[in-house]
Symmetry: C2
Subunit: 391 residues, 2 copies
């Protein structure tokens, strides 16, 4: 019966790249060939990371992470000084277009090299033959392992402004340059579905999938693609920004006329997501029956988008809190393509953790939240370039 507080909050800037020096602190494995991250900088417009002191000579691989809804890629390109780490994604149902993109990138950026595609995610198995048809070597890597290595890199790797959290007091995003003790933490990866992983260290055996949820990005995108006219995830998120969930959600105040203070429910808490809809469209009298389309048209798409974004996000936040509590983890990293740096999503997840933990746990986010798996696959290969597939 508890939901998100819905007062509007001003929209701050999410990314504030700086030029300050940082070193690559990811070296948990002494034999790993590190990326040279000196003066690394995130480009605001595209999230690419410029590495002025890293050489393309050293790069013979690109990596892909093919999930249930999105296919992600990490690849290098040459720049005047050093090179750039690029991030690209496309809907998984356009997998042929995705493979063409790989071929183009290899042709243009990796001229005359023997390139290996390091592949992870469910699609690494499902589309292995398709990826191999390009003539490139394809090496499959375990999804969980890649996810952890990727997150580990972003947390400790010294990319300025990579990690941030939301501060409700002044509605600001605060970048966390030093994470202090890295372990243990809970990783909540939100793609089509949700996986929650307890991580106590960077190596295999130090992490365990402790839970998850089938209510994830695929649920939100699926429902909104038949309840709104939006054609892309970003259109859906933009719609949600313009909506008002109170037109479709049943608030505590709608039921009680006021709050239910005795048990800590405020009037503006969401008692039931989409809870106003049924009673507005179904009268129960046969002669008044509306068609499905007539019913749907009674509601603003924007309001539905906001309601469902809140519902899915808040639900994930609550389960994440309960898992973190159970495993005594104070830090919760939210990642995955669901988040897309969207402010309402970040705010709702942060609110859930803050509310349930009474401020004792904190939700962290990353600028490259959707690319943990692909980044991890890339690094894993560099670490073990002489090994065969771990699958």
């Amino acid at each position: 019966m508890l939901g998100t507080v819905t007062e509007p909050i001003p929209v701050p800037e999410a990314e504030k790249p700086s030029r300050e020096n940082s070193i690559y602190r990811h070296l948990h494995t002494p034999d790993q060939k590190p990326l040279n991250l000196t003066d690394a900088q995130i480009l605001k417009e595209c999230r690419s990371i410029v590495l002025p002191f890293h050489s393309m000579d050293d790069v013979n691989e690109l990596s892909v992470d093919i999930g249930g809804s999105l296919a992600k890629m990490v690849y290098f390109s040459n720049t005047e000084q050093g090179c750039t780490l690029n991030f690209y994604c496309l809907e998984t149902n356009k997998i042929n277009e995705f493979v063409e993109k790989i071929e183009n990138i290899v042709r243009e950026n990796y001229k005359d090299k023997e390139v290996t595609i390091i592949a992870t995610g469910g699609g690494a198995h499902k589309y292995y033959d398709l990826l191999s048809r390009s003539g490139l070597v394809v090496q499959k890597e375990d999804e969980m392992q890649c996810l952890i290595i990727g997150l580990d890199f972003f947390i400790t790797g010294g990319i300025p402004n990579e990690v941030f959290y939301y501060q409700a007091d002044d509605a600001s995003f605060v970048t966390e340059e030093s994470v202090g003790e890295v372990y243990p933490y809970l990783l909540v990866n939100i793609g089509s579905g949700v996986s929650m992983v307890k991580v106590t260290g960077p190596k295999e055996g130090n992490f365990e999938r402790v839970g998850g949820s089938s209510l994830g990005g695929g649920t939100l995108w699926g429902l909104l693609s038949i309840l709104t006219d939006a054609n892309t995830f970003d259109e859906m998120l933009e719609m949600a920004t313009r909506g008002n969930n109170e037109n479709v959600d049943l608030l505590v105040g709608d039921i009680y006329g006021t709050g239910y203070n005795k048990i800590g429910l405020k009037a503006n808490h969401i008692a039931s997501s989409m809870g106003k809809v049924f009673k507005e469209v179904v009268s129960g009298d046969v002669e008044d029956t509306l068609t499905r389309e007539e019913r749907l048209s009674k509601f603003k798409q924007e309001d539905i988008a906001q309601s469902l974004l809140y519902a899915v996000s808040y639900n994930i936040g609550q389960i994440a809190y309960l898992q973190a509590q159970r495993h005594e983890l104070k830090k919760i990293y939210f990642a995955g393509s669901y988040i897309r740096n969207h402010i309402q999503t970040i705010r709702t997840l942060s609110f859930a953790i803050e509310f349930w933990s009474k401020g004792e746990k904190r939700a962290y986010f990353l600028n490259h939240e959707g690319y943990l798996g692909a980044m991890g696959a890339f690094l894993l290969r560099r670490e073990s370039s002489n090994c065969s597939s771990s699958e």
Copy 2:
């Protein structure tokens, strides 16, 4: 990323009333005027409880529990031998019809008596004036307190076949005549929204709302009322029975081609509820854009109904497990009008508890699952008939 196993299970009978003797064991308060439950029996067709040895002379009240979606009533009627405890509910948006029903019942069943309506639920406050207009005395009671007293009565009151659980091995419903130690337990009340209450004893101060969810009945009914042609909750549930969620849900096998055994995900687990929908309707090419109605018509209403029923039920089951775990409670009672004695719902909630707790916790259900609040209000009044409203 984990969901419900979806293999079909034969449909057994839910209610098997017996005539065996039982006594009213609810007497936690020595001053309470008990109902005479000797030879009490649930009538299968309407869930009324026949009380052959209770007299109508003793009854001067009826009780209502007005929630966000449904208004429930408990009232007595005369029968040849003894009397009958009746249960009635109607959508809250037909509140005027509900009040007329009250007036009719009072006129027919409570002739020449000074009747008190004991009212609980959010609507007790919101519709207090409307209820009072009937000229009857209206006494408001606290919702949580009523809920607990009602559950307590049904658990310990000696109504044969009231409490049951689902046994997956042989897909049967097992009635639990003796509950052994009653406390502590977790009550999960699913109405429009979900409330989870830790109960350590029958008295005020022995229970605490420990959590909840805005993803409840209101969410399922709201979504299905704009995604299907169904006009009632029961039509929606019936639709779900005929559907196949695998046509709209993304299963683990759809992503991996197989299971992901390393982390315990089977191929038929739901990775993402409604996770197949987006990719089937949104091609991303502008020229292929379908209208909302065209998109919706690509899916069977029955499949959507089953997917969302599973999603909401499983999610509640998971959160209930995590709360029960956290508070070290082994018994979980699921109640509220969401359940409606629907087999798929009961099975999904039971599966979630069984799966997450590895069989260590058990989900219990009640034949009068939607009437805890109304029943509790009725009993509370008998207990404290000289006290004023506790609100």
